[in-house]
Amino acid sequence: MANTPTASRMPSDIPAQPTPEMEDVDAFRERARAWLAARMKPLPPGEWEIPNRDTDEGVQHARDLMAKLFDAGFSGICFPKEYGGQGLSVAHMRAWSEEAQRYEMPTKFNIPTLTILLPTLLDYGTEAQKQEHIPKTLRGEEMWVQFLSEPTGGSDLAGALTKATRDGDVYVLSGSKIWSSGAYRADYALCLCRTNWDVQKHRGLSVLLVKIHQPGIQVEQIRQINGSMEFCQEFFDDVPIPADQLVGEEDDGWTVVSRLLQHERSAVGNGSAFGVIMQLGARRTRGETTDPLVDITKQLGLGADPTTRQLVAEGRVLSLVQPALVDRVGTGIRAGKLPGPSSALMKLANATTGIARAELAVKIAGSAAAAWVEPGPASQQAGVFLSRQTAALAGGSNEIQRNIISERVLGMPREFAPDKDAAFKDVKRNTIPTRKP
């Protein structure tokens, strides 16, 4: 039977401060610093992460780095020892992040593998699943992705139409998932599917652990406005999934996904302790990274223009406020002074900051955003502007975050949902997918 914690404390609720049996944080920091200096390659000046992060080479490099960290005892700082992690506290992870962020790090694994999928598996996977997957992932052998959204579904994840029909020892999976980021090169997925059509929609869902590259699963990359090919759509053609790959209870998949989404909100808001905390704001403050708004200003020689100076500073303020908000909300949640769903504030802050800064970039760039002889910061940010809504859509739209904040943080009444009490088979829903193969 799946591990279904009932207490409010869950396996992924890592202690904020060290417990007595843990290594002292300062000692850990010293040890980490020394090892990093000796063994890891510093990032080129001005870079935030491995420059070719999204290429095949970059991903392979990230896998190698994971293995290197694992061997040295620095992979999965906050994951339990029994699954290959280090069993340390959030304070250790912060110390690690502060030390590690000047070096090449496998940040490609942060989202979604380390910060979303693995913690969810930790909370709801079976012992066998955890033993099988967590150590391998911490060694860089597995990358993960979530299969949640569907081309008919929009924000309504619980309205999933992808079917998993039990047939002896297997679930037969059929349907389609979409907006899974990087699925084409990931290894495993947690997949939300419908196992029961005769009950209310949230009560007939299950989560399956699915090996991505196998017969019957077709993965198609989707080109984004900015040229990125990271998002994918998957098509399942009666794929047999062994029944022991169920994560959580059958028909109780919504519980698993709710937790997954909570991990996701933290992660996207840069508030997760399971991946290196990027602290971009702090790094910018220390002058270790460049700000694209500053880069455009310098490219165009507008540094003395008072209007431009206001715009750059406005963007700068937003990128200082965002980590400050993450810090505050994270602290509040850990201290029990803010409810858990407050992580939606981090996600919303991340998306709205990006949107506002993209607008500022266009204002600063002027006609250099429209046309250019040679590409540069202005043209690059014009591309960012075109696809700026992506962060406000992926992983739960801004609208969903605002619902969560108003309903589950501020305690306002839930939206009227006609499908709330009906059997799912009777619910009015989209029949036309937004996208077909």
Binding site: Q224, G227, T307, S367, L386, S387, L393
Partner: protein, 378 residues
Amino acid sequence: MELQLSEDQEFFRDTTRKFLDAEAPLTKVRALEASDDGFERDWWRRGAELGWTSMLVPEDLGGGSLSGAGLLDLVLVAEEMGRLVAPGPLVPVSVVASAIAAGGNAEQQKAVLPGLLAGATFAAWALDEGRGPWSGAGVTLTAEQRGSDFILNGTKSTVEAGNVADHFLVTVRTGAGLTNLLVPAGAPGLTVVPMKSLDLVRRFSRVDFSDVTVPSSASVGEIGGAGGEVDRLLQTAVVLQCHETNGAVDHVFAMTTEYAGDRYSFGRPLSSYQALKHRFADLKLWLEGSHGIATHAARAVQQRAANAAELSSAAKSYVGENSTDIIQDCIQLHGGIGVTWEHDLHLFLRRATVNRVTYGTPADHRERIATLLSLEEG
């Protein structure tokens, strides 16, 4: 969409719309991405036959408008082109034709207008220098007078349709002051450097002038006295551009309203969610404001009214920033599919963004307005 049209205008608009629907669908726009010109020359010639190039040129010079107020007719074409983010150099050809019709000498009119009107040749307006105030005062490219010639040296940036232009109207500074010179594309020393554009089919160029020599008869209008005309041409460009953008936004808004009505989430249509309804209401407000100010600006520029400069800059400032806000929110309302290459929304966002920042940014035009307000006096 203009809400008050004569029957002639309605017919003209419908003809243009049918032609564009048939001959410039979005699939065509996508297909033209990789082309050099960004449009098909034969297609443009057929558009010219419909009257696209004639509206700002009087009948005695081979042009002619429907209503006698050519700009108010031509904005209908601009709106329809916006609806389908159509290709084609409507703004530069219109502006240069208008300039030659208004101030060119008989020889220039005879040599250049027939080709432009027929859609057989092309013209571009080289004004922008990528920096400084958006008015004649921002022009630093100099044309030195030597005998009866002008020698041009300097660079113009973001010249729309520079890639296909047979003629350049180059706004320069001479000893006498601001001057518009008509320079043939093949003039020695004139180099057209293609620029990459955010828009799939709108082409811009950098144009470098290195000792480019033209006779003083190349001046369109008075030598040194082009200040007022440059302003009128800029107003004309901006008004056309704002109408084109409004056409694009109209289309996106209609698509999105329809989508929100069709699409169900949590058992309810998207359009039943009040948070979205109120955003749609705001988008509608901004869109109607955009149409309103663009229309006021078009009338003022057509009439050469005293407030034409202020209203056209107000239109540019308002339409420029609101258009991209509206389209971005429509992308958001579409969900994930809205940020894919295969969905058409980005084509509209590209056009609106390019329109927003060319022929002066909203901030540039606010600075123009501030100057008109004489803030530094008493």
